[in-house]
């Protein structure tokens, strides 16, 4: 048996692709329907933007996402870098801790947040930022860990030291460039998660974009499906862009060399 890509494989993938894209297309078609079967229109999409609460909700979610990213940047990145450089023996411990949130269902975390957090924190939607960091932690850690491993950061730092650079220079010229791509990936995951997170937001009674979208759906089914299509389609396009980024980069690099 050869591991060749046969027509059977192509069929399977084609079928799978169809089954997963079909609902999206169906939803897109649905969302473009006008009332009373008057043909297709994009009016439902403009409806989204003009709805009451759209801007505040979106703005809130963006703010929360920004703070969450900041916390990840300040907390997770230095920690993982530290584990790879100096604290190597704690690697297993940190790995277990960072993957721990996966065990906890988000619902339960929400309950815990309600029970444990002080009123002062619970009154601001920024409370979500901290819990989003917890929820994102496994994915963030994985991304950073794999990225730093492949770069063998400790070797680079030792080389930098042996060449005479001090810690600041090493940080700026070696460490930061080395971790740039995996950090970007981790932040991207965090961003996507923060924007789309629903469970914690709704159980803790905050008004973020996802909760707003759910509420708005009560009024206009077509409009809310339009939101769904936008969210999913947008996420897909973004992810494909990110996936093809290396190729695009090398395209530019090649041009530079020729020039």
């Amino acid at each position: 048996m050869k591991r060749q890509f046969t027509w059977l494989d192509k069929t399977i993938i084609a079928f799978a692709g169809f089954f997963f894209i079909a609902p999206l297309i169906a939803a897109a078609e649905y969302s473009a329907r006008g009332y009373g079967n008057k043909g297709h229109t994009l009016s439902n999409y403009s409806w989204i933007i003009h709805q009451l609460g759209f801007s505040p909700a979106l703005w809130t979610s963006l703010r929360i996402a920004a703070i969450t990213i900041l916390i990840v940047l300040v907390l997770m990145v230095p920690t993982v870098v530290y584990v790879h450089l100096g604290g190597r023996k704690y690697r297993r411990l940190v790995e277990i801790l960072c993957l721990l949130p996966i065990v906890i269902p988000v619902v339960s975390l929400a309950i815990g947040a309600q029970v444990a957090m002080p009123k002062s924190l619970q009154s601001t939607s920024y409370e979500l930022c901290f819990f989003y960091v917890v929820v994102a932690m496994p994915y963030v850690y994985r991304t950073l860990d794999i990225g730093l491993q492949s770069v063998s950061l400790s070797t680079l730092v030792e080389a930098s030291h042996s060449l005479g650079a001090n810690w600041i220079k090493t940080l700026l010229m070696v460490i930061i460039p080395a971790i740039r791509s995996s950090t970007t990936g981790a932040l991207f995951i965090t961003f996507a998660l923060s924007l789309g997170e629903y469970t914690l937001a709704v159980l803790l009674h905050f008004h973020t974009f996802p909760t707003w979208a759910t509420n708005a759906s009560q009024q206009n089914i077509y409009g809310s499906i339009a939101i769904s299509v936008t969210t999913l389609g947008g996420a897909w396009i973004l992810l494909i862009l990110v996936a093809f980024l290396p190729r695009i980069k090398s395209l530019f690099a090649r041009k530079e060399r020729v020039a």
Binding site: A26, E29, G87, L97, P105, V107, A213
Partner: protein
Amino acid sequence: MVIADELAAPTRLMGGSGSSRPKFKFDKSILGLLPLFLFLGYFLLYPIASIISASIHDNKHHLTFVLYKNLFTGNYREAFIGSFKLAFYSMIVSGILGALICWSVVKTSGVVRTITSSAAGVLANTGGVPLAFMFIAAFGQEGLITKLLLKVFHWDLYGGSFDLYNFWGILLVYCFFQIPLMVIIFTPALENLRVEWIEANESLGGSKLQYFRHVLIPVLLPSFFSACLLLFASAFSAFATAAAMSNGSIPLAPLFIGNLVNGNVIPDQANQGDAMAMGMIIVSLFVIAAYLLLLRVTRKR
């Protein structure tokens, strides 16, 4: 050693307690992890501890396990059983279909591979209202696919017992993000299959069937099971999608907790919700523990 001193520097940058006269055999380097410990301690462990504490007390602050006992009765029991059922079926269907699709995906490369990988990533993370409404749009009474099936195949989706809002409907929706998740989790296991095994089997006189029976299946089985366990955990804990799809007819544990929290709180039941939340954590813990055990078996190979 000069380097050791330099490595202590980051702890100061991060606000760790810095250097101190080492009186005991205290390993300073763990201080670099202090921020992480504090953060997780407060935002993860403390809430869980609070839940545990609340769940073993009644509203008169007496120590009791009755709240946990209650989980095995009445509506609570229904909710857990409902979640188990959903997670189990979703795991079986998505596990098998996902593995089959994965088999073909692993053979692709280049552009096709990148697209399928990123597609799997997006699909696995869809959920909640966007997903639910997409399915309503596609498979609902007025949905495009429903209409298509009627026109082209003369198959009335709603003629039988199918209803997007009943158990099977929700299962269908869950499979939508579970199957891509399976593809993502299971791909590494398939990529670790060596072509040399197939060739060795051939040179030793084995047929394709014998290869399947003696090599392929035994090698893949642990990875398959561990992947399925992750699917189970994911389906069991899902909230957003369940909330969006449910009209109250299906008992599911996460939704139950949600109701207990969302202002449907009757004073006596405040702590019951905590017990339920803890119940979910315990189930999840068991599943992940089984997953890790299986992983160790796989790694030994």
